[in-house]
Amino acid sequence: MDILSGYNREKSNLVSILQAFQHELGYLPEDIILRVADYLRISPATVYSVATFYPRFKFVPSGKKVICACRGTACHVRGGGRVLREIEKQLGIKAGETTPDMEYTLETVSCMGACVLAPAMMVDDEIHGQMTPAKVSEVLDGE
């Protein structure tokens, strides 16, 4: 696998390698975890332990687009909850789920560091600030 050949077998490369696979595949399938474990000569459980600590690592395939609603304090007081409910309504899924057509995955995050734009949401890597429920369809349609 090309990704592995870019790293030496130091255990300290674990998170970087997982990030590379997450980026490439959108999630970390079991066979990849086993391969990474084998490559770094650590137990698969250890790799899994590290991977499950970070919310960015997924273990099931995500939708083509990952929608992320912020539930941080600033977003909360400025109506982030309503925005989230509207996204859930429009996509027909709850936070943490993926649409059956594998188009969208909806996630929440404790803070995306864009408090000045609260309430904020993110579509893949693009932040949309000062959201309202009314703007949700605009953002989703625009994608």
């Binding site: 474990a37 137990s43 698969p44 459980a45 899994y48 332990s49 499950t52 600590f53």
Partner: protein, 889 residues
């Protein structure tokens, strides 16, 4: 070392430098509450309950992570500290069931202990019932996360002690839990089921399924492999209900899956023999001891003495073996006694005796981990000697270099710096090639060779035939790896070699052992801690069976049976005439039986039908005997062929000693009464001896037998039961004041100078060809032992591995159209056996791997008759086979 004095709660106490405050307090009898501390693990500082106040330090440092310092003033309990502790405990209790009275850990629970200390009387925070399903997939223990307090002692044990890392903390925050890869049931993980995590758990999150609080415990020695782990058998109402590791030097409290969970299943098996059996008209009939003994006495007396013999047992005690060889030599009048070391480490005894003068492990288990470099060749340590395997892995974690030489990708490979995947049977070329690299690179220890060894000129000259082209071609190992391994081993100061049957079970097994001895001598890796040539013995007391003289060429203590002086000495001691003729080895007895020159055999605790190579020949030999007497705890495949079968007591039912792989005499203590109708092996042999008119078999107990051993064998002269009470003794131990010998050959070799020995590479006898294109190599798996007579009585071990699955490389499997669990026939020139398939890259293309654990797949039907010419040890590790798909299994 200077002691440190400090003040804890107003008491002046002393501590050793490097101790933590918690250790200092506990050692001085001052309790500080804790949940995550264990003396066997690195300080963790996770539970925060051991917080203390230390003058001059800010805040509340954890006692388990704070080293002691001179004049330190520590307070372990103040209102502020206890307030914080109560808060922590209340948070834990919010999630924890309060069903203490009906909990299996009641009164043995650390959480309970801490709650009592803090005076917790009610749950203050709202209860949150976690309701997590119990994982009871493992047959021996269950995981109930509702009781888990996330102290991480289990995961740290699985990391630091066993180095398996099967369980870890997964997820984060409130979702954190102990889990496996993929959060699957523990049975689907790489858990080795050693149970160390269960032992470490302070609550009822990890508990043994079938266990009860014992009424009493007896310390004894494990009956499985040669590590010789100390263990406590917990007994209640005559039954073994619990097993735990004891703090013996061999195992420091650790046990493996077989020792911890595989004892009661066979000791209390319904299949245990309970009466002597005599075969009448082809059927076994129960008989009284008197009837059986008089028949045996009559039969054994009726043949010329050279036509009678004994196969003794590596599983029996030293005392059993001593009495067996005394009976053989004194009463039967012959040196025809042998045991299963013939099948395993006889080349070690021969090869090391020839080069060093003593054929045993040179160093101790505890100093292996002090090596700078460990070279494991032909040793699947983690499966065959699991507790030593843990030590090796721990050493690697601490920075020891590891070289593994094995055709199979064994578990240790994952920990190795260099893995030499040589072709089976090419060890001499590999080892001598490494020596040539070392000498050519001037990495050899010239002083050591000059002072301690002889024959170096001829030896150095002989290395010419091992140039790297030849070595690479023969072994299949790329030259860079051979060179790197040689340099790594030579650079290690010190370096230790571990090996087992991958070295000895070849038609050139003795040569392999000598090659290893050469490598150690050339680099001076002998006679100091962390170095040495360390053959790991396979069975619990195979070292002892050799030591006790259950061999045709030596009496107890390796005194030659063909020396007139020795003969005279033993004739005087035992009061009778002895033979000076060298006795027959096991293969010679079997060959003699087949051609009618050997008539009667007494087999003690050995299942030859499954353990010897080419079983058809063994069955023919045993069936051709006029009289076969088998003494065992079960009606084994071998016992079924007997004329008379005698019921023996198991290790749990008798006193005695086992000698483990590091030459350590350790006590075996009677924990329960023998199964009704059975007797200890030595008692049975004594009764037979007396029935035949033998004198000197009226021992009252095994301690008397040991005294006789000590009186007759100079190297065991100081072994006495009283001295074995604290930790055992390693021979040589010549007198009552001698402390035992942890390391051999420290000043000079047992034979004076070490003999560097030129060797010629010889290929294995039976190599693959067009008709039989695959190499079969055999060995053990973790969950079973030898021919399975003991381990297969434990249902849980059968759940882990219930039948033979032949390991085959995916490339070969594809050629043959085989998938996992397909039924196949493995066929050699000597026969065929049926088995299942495991397709795996563990074996290289062209090689298949089988065990001899399963009577349903008697692998030794097909193994080769080729033997090592020096010791007649069979070539179990290499023979040619072909594989066909079966229609059904």
């Amino acid at each position: 070392m200077n002691e440190i004095s400090l003040n804890i709660d107003g008491r002046k106490v002393t501590a050793k430098p490097g101790m933590t405050v918690l250790e200092a307090a506990l050692e001085n009898g001052i309790y500080i509450p804790y949940l995550c501390y264990s003396p066997d693990l690195k300080p963790h500082g996770g539970c925060r309950l051991c917080i203390v106040e230390i003058e001059g330090m800010e805040g509340m440092p954890t006692a388990c992570t704070t080293p002691v310092a001179e004049c330190m003033v520590v307070r372990t309990s103040t209102p502020d500290i206890d307030d914080v502790r109560c808060n922590i405990l209340e948070l834990i209790l919010a999630d924890h069931p309060l069903d203490c009275l009906t909990c299996v850990k009641n009164q043995r629970c650390d959480l309970q202990k801490v709650a009592a200390y803090l005076g917790i009387s009610e749950r203050i925070l709202p209860h949150n019932d976690r309701n997590i399903p119990v994982d009871d997939s493992n047959p021996f223990f269950k995981i109930d996360r509702n009781y888990c307090i996330l102290c991480q002692k289990c995961t740290r044990t699985c990391d630091e002690i066993t180095c398996a890392n099967a369980i870890e903390v997964i997820s984060r925050g409130y979702e954190s839990r102990i889990g496996t890869f993929g959060d699957k049931p523990i049975m689907e993980s790489n858990c080795q089921s050693c149970g160390e995590c269960v032992v470490s758990c302070p609550t009822a999150a990890l508990t043994i399924k079938e266990s009860a609080v014992p009424a009493y415990e007896v310390e004894t020695t494990c009956p499985y492999c040669g590590v010789g782990c100390g263990m406590y058998l917990g007994v209640r109402n005559g039954k073994i209900v619990a097993v735990r590791g004891s703090d013996s030097k061999a195992n420091s409290g650790k046990l493996c899956v077989k020792g911890r969970f595989g004892i009661a299943g066979y000791v209390h098996s319904e299949e245990r023999l309970r009466s002597p059996l005599i075969k009448k008209n082809g059927k076994f009939v129960e008989a009284s001891w008197d009837e059986a003994l008089s028949l045996i006495a009559e039969k054994l007396s009726s043949y010329p003495k050279e036509q009678v013999g004994i196969i003794s047992s590596s599983r029996c005690t030293n005392e059993d073996n001593y009495v067996a060889q005394k009976f053989c030599r004194l009463v039967l009048g012959t040196n025809n006694i042998d045991h299963c070391a013939r099948l395993c480490h006889a080349p070690t005894v021969a090869g090391l005796a020839q080069t060093f003068g003593s054929g045993a492990m040179t160093n101790s288990i505890e100093d292996i981990s002090e090596a700078d470099c460990i070279f494991a060749i032909g040793s699947n340590t983690t499966e065959a000697h699991p507790v030593i395997g843990m030590n090796v892995k721990q050493a690697v974690r601490r920075g020891t270099k590891l070289i593994v030489a094995d055709p199979r990708e064994i578990d240790l490979v994952r920990f190795a710096d260099i893995w030499l995947r040589h072709h089976p049977g090419t060890d001499v070329a590999l080892l001598m090639g490494m020596i040539k690299v070392i000498v050519d690179g001037k990495l050899h220890n010239i002083d050591f060779i000059k002072e301690r060894c002889e024959n170096s000129e001829a030896f150095m000259e002989s290395l010419k035939s091992y140039d790297i082209d030849f070595v690479e071609r023969i072994t299949g190992v790329p030259r860079e790896q051979v060179i790197a391994a040689a340099r790594m081993y030579a650079a290690g100061n010190p370096s230790s070699i571990l090996y087992t049957l991958g070295i000895t079970e070849h038609s050139h097994g003795t040569d392999n052992v000598i090659a290893i001895a050469n490598l150690a001598m050339v680099t001076g890796n002998i006679g100091k801690r962390g170095s040495g040539v360390n053959p790991l013995r396979g069975q619990n007391n195979v070292q002892g069976a050799c030591d006790m003289g259950a061999l045709p060429n030596v009496y107890v203590g390796y005194q030659s049976s063909t020396s007139p002086e020795t003969k005279k000495k033993f004739e005087a001691a035992w009061g009778g005439n002895l033979s000076i003729e060298k006795g027959l080895t096991t293969p010679e007895m079997f060959n003699g039986a087949c051609d009618g020159t050997f008539k009667a055999l007494y087999i003690i605790g050995e299942n030859s039908v499954l353990s010897q190579p080419n079983s058809n020949h063994v069955i023919k030999a045993l069936s051709s005997l006029d009289f076969l007497l088998v003494q065992d705890i079960f009606l084994t495949e071998t016992a079924q062929l007997a004329d008379v079968v005698l019921p023996a007591a198991s290790f749990a039912e008798k006193d005695g000693t086992f000698t483990n792989t590091e030459r350590r005499f350790q006590r075996v203590r009677k924990a329960i009464e023998p199964v009704s109708g059975s007797l200890a092996d030595w008692e049975i042999t004594c009764r037979i001896a007396e029935a035949m008119g033998g004198k000197g078999f009226d021992y009252e107990n095994t301690s008397q037998i040991m005294d006789e051993i000590a009186a007759l064998a100079p190297c065991f002269g100081g072994i006495k039961y009283e001295r074995l009470e604290s930790g055992g003794l390693q021979w040589p131990c010549p007198n009552a004041d001698h402390p035992g010998t942890p390391i051999l050959h420290t000043k000079q070799f047992a034979c004076g100078k070490g003999k560097l020995t030129p060797l010629k590479y010889r290929p294995s006898e039976e190599l693959p060809d067009a008709d039989y294109p695959l190499i079969l190599t055999t060995g053990r798996r973790l969950f079973h032992y030898h021919t399975g007579t003991m381990t297969r009585k434990t249902e849980g071990l059968n759940i882990f591995m219930g039948r033979e699955r032949v390991q085959i490389n995916p490339a070969d499997a594809a050629k043959l159209g085989l998938n996992d669990d397909d039924a196949i026939k493995v066929i050699s020139r000597r026969g065929e056996v049926e088995a299942g398939v495991e397709v795996t890259r563990v074996v290289p293309p062209g090689v298949v791997y089988m065990t001899f654990h399963f009577a349903e797949t008697p692998t030794n039907m097909i193994t080769s008759c080729a033997v090592d010419p020096v010791t007649q040890t069979p070539e179990y590790k290499v023979c040619a086979v072909k594989i066909e798909k079966s229609v059904c299994l």
